[in-house]
Amino acid sequence: MHPMNESAANVFIVDGCRTPVLKARGAPGPCSGADLAVAAGGALMLRAGIAADALDEVVLGCVMAAADEANIARVAALRIGVAQTTPAFTVQRNCASGMQALDTAAARIRQGAAQLTLAGGVEAMSRAPLLLNDGAVHWLAGLRRAKTAAARIKHIARLRPAHLKPVVALLRGLTDPVAGMSMGQTAEKIARRFGIDRDAMDRFALQSHRRLAHAVEQHHFDDEIQPLYCDGDGGVVEHDDGLRRDTSIEKLAKLKPVFEPLSGSVTAGNSAQVSDGAAWLLLASERGLREHRLEPAGRIVAVEWAALDPSEMGLGPVHAAGRLLQRLGLDARDIDYWELNEAFAGQVLACLAAFESHDYCFNEAGLERAVGRIEQERLNIDGGAIACGHPVGMSGARITLHALNVLRRTGGKRAVATLCIGGGQGGAALIETL
């Protein structure tokens, strides 16, 4: 056993819960980001029996909050009923925003700045806005400048059909502005590099759905998911609704590559779904536990970040988790369970290959040696974002929470939750049961 006293002050996870992940179905979903955060957060506060004024801080990760939900952490906190005097702030690190929230909250607890913090992640990707394109914005500005009626009519005549073509903010967000590649294209690139073929991707995607379906049947999410009551017609969503129980290797094989139509392998079926959801964890210091008489479920040992070539952002977990383990003097065998966010099946498989590769770990990730082999039996055993969805700001918090729940269920001690981050970064959190 290695010394694990990364820091004198412990950060405990008291409890956590999340909404089901709702698949975006081409139209704005029933809940805004704040609605989702309130649904999960209210349930968590109720379950934990925490009075509204007991929290010291609220930290929420979110990539793209709605225009009327700026600093969505504060909006959600007030709506949950957290005291007006409790500060709340929003953090953003793209796909790892939820994990960033945990890291930031944990750091503030270690500093002694907070004893009890609500931290999590949220995203309502289905509500990502349609924007006016540049031409239309300039046309509108010109209209405002036109003073006389004649000038105005003249200006109106300059309106062109092209001005009406909206910019889909979601697609812009999923495109790396520096590398000029969409996330899917980066996945194609690393899959090719590590020789991951279409069939392997599809088989991984199928496994994700099957594992999620099985976990639902086994009631593994009963404590994790707070049913969502906002679908309007008296219904209730109790589970991640992106799950396809009827999918098969044949069905997956029929889908067309999205990002490289001619030569690619990444399809809608073997990529994470675009979704909405929110997850929260209640974090506490030792004093926080004592003062509020709370039982901890686990602790956050450390969080590590790393950055790499944006066009290979999918390998971020190798860099981040590798550095995390090296820093703590651990290797892959010391980790009982892994949650590796399934942005793309090809990306997950590429990471697994890279973890084992001394060449990649040493030469590219700057590690002392290969991290090691991570068996599928220790990885994403209840499925992942390919089956349930990847609300970008939420996922970091979701996989950390779920990793803890799996540890507790299987009797494991240590888990790593890690994900790749658009823009070429990786994040990894090490958590432990007590």
Partner: protein
């Protein structure tokens, strides 16, 4: 004026929270209002020291600036007025603007009673001698501007001439206010109703609070009268004839922002900006607003008659002229309007005075006072945590209403799917009431399948199936978990509390909170107390009911409590008559002609015939065969689309051709109800006859213009009714046997 008539002991309670329904909003305002309550007696010493204050403080600006809240009418404004002011405060700023603050000394809500009006008259006198640069009229109460004239002063009036004199007096003051040479402005927050709005209408400008709790209304028709301080003349002038008629005929309230939109207010501002907005508007002093010409309907008789014809048809759809003459009176007065403002204002007084004369008005005022009496049972409790168990129609709707009223609510049922329909209904209710702010209430309502909320709740409401064993089993698990100070309430509609309290460690805190369906509409909650129920818990239950803006009616626990018990023989009789072959439309018409809001068969269908049967069973009075047959055939009423009526889209399908109900039919129905009411009074289920009347009016919609079942019996002659009852017993059998207690009525 003779102030000693204002007995603080009686007025205090009666006027508490006389404000018009604030939903989900301004509770801090209520608290503030309570905080500021002062007894007349407590105020005395301040008035008595006033002369000394004047001696030392006159001409001393710094002393003035200390703004002693107890200081009565300030000297500057009322030059030469030697007596003190108890209800009004006057401050004259450096800009010469006089700010008149009404802060009624013996009421928690401002009313224009004769004492307040008399002081106002003296202020006007003073302004006549020395007119300020401008006048701002505002309220010193946190809860609102003005609740209107003091209705109680109109109940004792014996003659039409007396009423007329009183109206003219008030009108004259409004006219004098309007005629002041300086600009005048009403600064309105919270409620502003009736005479209060009429006062504001007599000002040049109105600045209102832009908040949900700011409600402006002319609700006089609800008392069987119409505006009588010039409002019916000034409102059309300001916002146009049709919008004004709409407001006056329905009595509905408009919010602050809407008041600005329709031109009733010149400006709407947040509370913190109100004073600044008022001062700025007075400085600018634009020409007072008038409705655009297009909005006015010329005073040409044929034209107005034509418009009135259409408006009248709309009113007649909703109210029966024979029962509620006021709206028709108002419309007629509007039709006949001639001459200038002052002349029309005179005509308004004549019209209202005639209405005061009518029995309907006196009864409706009585109903208003009964409502005030029920309200006075308790002060609103502060918003807290409520846990509701059972997410059925009642439980779910109770939870939603509690959340809408500002409580934080957890709703428990066995699983999420059982809670989901309640959440959907709740969201619809919130969307309807709060529009864009719906999430405020939605965020306060948490589904709680595992019942975490029970341990933290201040009020726990059980609303599960009507099964005493199931309820007792639930309490057994629940009681050890709930807070020591939490109220334990059951929404049972018929089970005796004694039966449910058996086995409780603390039977004293079990109270019945009997809500009526639909929860969002029915104003009454029966507060049911068993033999063991403790007084403090009853008070807590009543205070909780008030926090939901509901009227608490304390009832002794006995099968069916009050409202269901009194209704049941009436429903049974209707079913019996239907079973004899009468058309349901005919049966129901007998009741609606009497003044009931809905016929008994339609009511039974709406409630559900199966529910009616189970309530009847707990009363041990089985319903007639026709009902049993419907239930056996699965025709349960509205919910199955079939009962005594066919139901389509939630409405009963009525055939146009119906026989006119005869006298016998009406007697059979109404005497069943009246007889049971007499029995309940005799058994002392409620405090007294007035409370019983209130219960039947607010809980079952008993014809308000008849003043309640017992009032009706007294007015109409109990002896005659008893005789008819005995005749019915002879003809139709046992169930018409007069209940014990008739003798006491004679």
């Amino acid at each position: 004026m003779d102030d000693t008539r204002d007995n603080p002991q009686t007025n205090e309670g009666r006027d508490e929270g006389r404000d018009d329904a604030h939903i989900g909003g301004r509770d801090e305002a209520h608290n503030g209002g309570r905080g500021e309550r002062r007894h007349a007696g407590e105020n005395r010493p301040a008035s008595e020291v006033h002369p000394q204050q004047r001696n030392t403080g006159q001409d001393n600006a710094t002393h003035e600036a200390q703004d002693n809240p107890q200081r009565a009418g300030s000297d500057d404004a009322a030059h030469g007025a030697h007596d003190d002011f108890r209800h009004w405060r006057v401050e004259r700023g450096g800009d010469g603007v006089a700010v008149l603050t009404l802060d009624h000394a013996s009421r928690s809500a401002n009313v224009l009673d004769s004492a307040a009006l008399a002081e106002f008259e003296r202020l006007l006198d003073a302004f006549g001698r020395d007119c300020p640069a401008g006048v701002i009229i505002r309220s010193g109460k946190a809860n609102g501007f003005l609740a209107g004239a003091d209705v109680t002063e109109f109940t004792g009036l014996q003659t039409r001439a007396q009423a007329l004199q009183k109206l003219r007096y008030g009108q004259n003051l409004m006219n004098r206010l309007e005629a002041l040479p300086c600009p005048t402005l009403a600064l309105i927050h919270g409620f502003c109703a009736g005479g209060g709005l009429e006062l504001a209408l007599a000002c040049d400008y109105r600045v209102v609070e832009d908040a949900p709790g700011c409600r402006l209304s002319l609700p006089e028709v609800r008392l069987g009268i119409h505006p009588g301080y010039g409002g019916s003349v000034r409102l059309p002038r300001l916002i146009g004839d049709l919008p004004a008629l709409n407001l006056m005929l329905t009595g509905r309230a408009v919010g602050g922002a809407q008041a600005k939109r329709i031109g009733l207010a010149d400006h709407a501002a947040r509370r913190d900006a109100l004073d600044a907005a008022a001062a700025a508007l007075l400085r600018k002093a634009p020409k007072p607003r008038r409705a655009p010409r297009l909005r006015r309907i010329p005073k040409i008789a044929p034209l107005r008659s034509a418009v009135a014809f259409f408006v009248e048809r709309q009113i007649a759809k909703r109210v029966n002229q024979a029962h509620y003459p006021a709206p028709f009176h108002l419309l007629a007065a509007w039709c006949k309007a001639r001459g200038g403002t002052l002349r029309r204002i005179e005509a308004e007084a004549d019209s209202v005075a005639a209405l005061f004369d009518s029995d309907t008005t006196q009864q409706l005022i009585r109903v208003f006072l009964l409502r005030e009496r029920l309200k006075a049972r308790a002060r609103k409790s502060a918003p807290g945590r409520v846990h509701v168990i059972g997410a059925g129609v009642m439980g779910g709707d109770i939870a939603a209403w509690c959340a809408l009223s500002g409580h934080r609510v957890t709703l428990q049922d066995r699983n999420a799917a059982l809670i989901a329909p309640a959440m959907t209904r709740a969201r619809r209710l919130f969307a309807k009431r709060l529009k864009r702010r719906a999430h405020e209430a939605a965020d306060r309502l948490l589904p709680d399948p595992r019942g975490h909320g029970a341990a933290r709740a201040d009020v726990v409401i059980e609303a599960i199936i009507e099964d005493a064993d199931a309820k007792r089993a639930l309490y057994a698990g629940l009681e050890p978990r709930i807070k020591p100070g939490a109220l334990l309430a059951t929404n049972t509609s018929s089970l005796p509390l004694e039966q449910l309290a058996r086995g409780l460690q603390q039977p004293a805190r079990l109270v019945g909170l009997h809500f009526f369906n639909p929860v969002a509409k029915m104003q009454l909650i029966e507060i049911v107390h068993g033999a063991a129920t403790g007084e403090q818990w009853l008070d807590a239950a009543a205070a909780f009911a008030r926090s939901l803006d509901r009227l608490p009616l304390p009832v002794r626990s006995s099968p069916g409590f009050l409202v269901n018990r009194v209704l049941m023989p009436y429903l049974a009789e209707a079913m019996r008559i239907a079973g004899e072959g009468a058309a349901p439309e005919t049966v129901d018409a007998a009741a609606t002609d009497f003044g009931m809001p809905m016929g008994p068969l339609e009511l039974a269908d709406s409630v559900g015939l199966d529910i009616c049967r189970s309530v009847a069973a707990t009363l041990q009075r089985p319903l007639p065969r026709s009902c049993a047959e419907h239930v056996a055939a699965g025709r349960l009423g509205r919910k199955t689309g079939r009962g005594y009526y066919r139901w389509k889209n939630g409405r009963a399908v009525r055939s146009k051709s119906r026989a006119e109900p005869g006298r016998d039919l009406r007697d059979r129905l109404m005497l069943s109800l009246l007889n049971e009411a007499v029995a309940c009074l005799h058994e002392q289920l409620v405090e007294d006859a007035d409370v019983l009347d209130a219960g039947m009016i607010f809980g079952a919609g008993f014809a308000p213009f008849r003043g309640g079942p017992l009032q009706y019996l007294r007015d109409d002659g109990a002896a005659a009714h008893l005789a008819r009852l005995q005749a019915l017993a002879a003809r139709h059998g046992e169930h018409f046997q007069p209940a014990p207690g008739w003798d006491a009525l004679k």
